[in-house]
């Protein structure tokens, strides 16, 4: 059975391409283009994992993370950050994120992390 993933990023080109690549790697991928959309989609369906960008217009990544955790405490979330520093990633970890990765991504690194978490 395919793992159900929700990808959240405001950059359509990025999120769409990444989704396609993950589909090629046998994941069931949904996408959301904002924090609000993410929470809406998440409430309607059952996901195994969320990959969430921290820098988005509107709701910030950390707010979305808090919302996700409120909706489902056990949901694993991998954060994406564009910053050179690990500061925000560390903050996300404190809020219950499973891990964080820096953009641009190495696809193998992402899938390794996902496999580790979903195991």
């Amino acid at each position: 059975m395919k793992n159900k993933i929700l990808l959240v990023d405001d950059e359509y080109e990025f999120v769409q391409t990444l989704a396609q690549r993950l589909k090629l790697r046998n994941y069931d991928v949904n996408i959301a283009l904002s924090g609000e959309e993410c929470l809406e989609i998440f409430s309607g369906q059952n996901f195994d994992l969320v990959v969430l960008d921290l820098m988005m217009p509107g709701m910030s990544g950390l707010e979305v993370l808090a919302g996700l955790k409120r909706a489902k405490q056990s949901i694993p979330v991998i954060l994406l950050t564009g910053h050179g520093s690990t500061k925000e990633g560390m903050e996300g970890m404190k809020l219950g994120a499973a891990d964080y990765l820096m953009k641009p991504l190495d696809i193998n690194q992402l899938t390794d992390k996902m496999e580790e978490i979903l195991k």
Binding site: E11, E13, T17, Q20, R21, L24, G82, M102, I107
Partner: protein, 577 residues
Amino acid sequence: MKKTFMNNLFYFFKTPPEHIRRPMRYVRMRRSIAFLFMVITIVPLTIMAGINYHQYRESLKKEIKAPLHNILNDIRYAFEIFIEERLSTIRFISNAYSDHELKDPDIIKKIFRALRHEFSGFVDLGMIDQNGILQSYAGPYNLLGKDYSQQDSFREVKVRGTYISDVFMGYRKFPHIVCVVERVTDEGKSWFLRATIDTKKYEELVNSVNLGPESDAFLLNKEKILQTASRYYGNVMEKTTLDIPDAIHGTFIKEIKDNTGKIVLAGFTSVHSDYIFVLVKPKSLILKSWYSLKSEMFFILGVSIIIIVIASIRLSNLVTNRIKTADERRETALKELQHTQKLSSIGRLAAGVAHEINNPLAIINEKAGLMNDIISFSKDFELKDEFLKHNQSIINSVSRCRSITHRLLGFARRFDINFEKLDVNSIVKEVLGFLEKEASYRQIDLVLSLNHEIPEVFSDKGQVQQVFLNLLTNAMAAVENGGKIEITSYYIADQKMVGIDFKDNGYGMSEEVKKHIFDPFFTTKRGQGTGLGLSITYGIVKKLKGKINFESKENIGTTFTILLPEEETYESMSEEE
């Protein structure tokens, strides 16, 4: 030290040449402070000294004049008493005896004997009739019958009733005076009693004045002819060489110049309106104590003024230097602040750019990745490997760009302090990433001996990076091509600190340079360095509660040691509040 002071003194008055000139502002400030200080001290001091000088001179003059006055008056009284005594004696004889009795040689001789017995100085006694013929005589000479009618004394006594002659030399060549008194008989005939008195008594009286050396005392008549011997101002019976004022009444003291040009203090007193007694003391002698006092006073004043001048110049230098140092410090702080602000705005700009670039980079990365995936998952075709190879190089380039943007973002973060747990070894490696290119160009041997057992430090990553970067940049600048830089990390358990040594085999530092390396704007890289690197480094290390030390030997190399605290210290907490 002495030379510096002399230089200071010299350039205090003269504008220094270009190469040692301080900004004109400070030269002027220095001058006005010193001038003001001198004015407010020297002016009152000089006025005080002047008043003192004047008052002391006045009181000293009074003190000197008073005893002179007393001596003059005493002598005058002595003379007057002497003359008056003799005159009244002669008057008494002329009253007590009639002309007939006195004509008797026995009687006159008896009287003369008694006279000589009672009073000193009488030489002879004679009685003269109205025609000026000596009628009787008692004394050593045979003058009987001598005609005095043509003499001045005879004419004057007829007018005034008494006559006292000037001193003159008699037959025996000793100075004497003549006193004559007139008597008028009941029949209206005049007769005269004449006595000769030697003036040894005058000399005695004059000599009774206790004269000091270089002083003089003598008696003059109205014509200023010396009546007694003088030490310096002429012989007896001659006109004195001292310039005597005309018309002398009573006693007074005057400063005059004598014939040798010496300033003397001369006292005059008129005796019996016939004589003038003169007392002369050289002023220099009298005022000797005054002169010594005066010179002492001038000496003290001079020394005080010199001290004040020196003190003023020193003080003004001190104050000006303090102000200058404060100004410079402020300027330095301002420059440092500007520099930091410049760096931080560059940092913000870099962060902005890095951020903007990061998103398209992520897209390129994913697109290239997708292309890779598609090609990989599709069946083999003619140029599949070629495609994969080119695509991979896109992905690699993106990865390079990623490391640049991350570095830029890291640089931007350097300006706020965020204490966190850090692995020093990995920071060293990161920083070396910036310098590896240059090191490999210049064939510099970078030797890392990092102890991986060391604990994490509690510090700010950006700041630590900057410190390491500064020290490594300096080390790179210090070594020749092909040089060696060693980086060692270790843990000092008892201080709970992690140490990192940066050791180079460069040209090292001289003792003079060592003193200034942490001073802002001190640089040995003429025209290339800002001189801020080590001062900023020093500031950062202090801010991070760490320690910075160094050892250096010329032509051997330099080792910088940074110690960073393992744990959050109390101070760092309180400072953050």
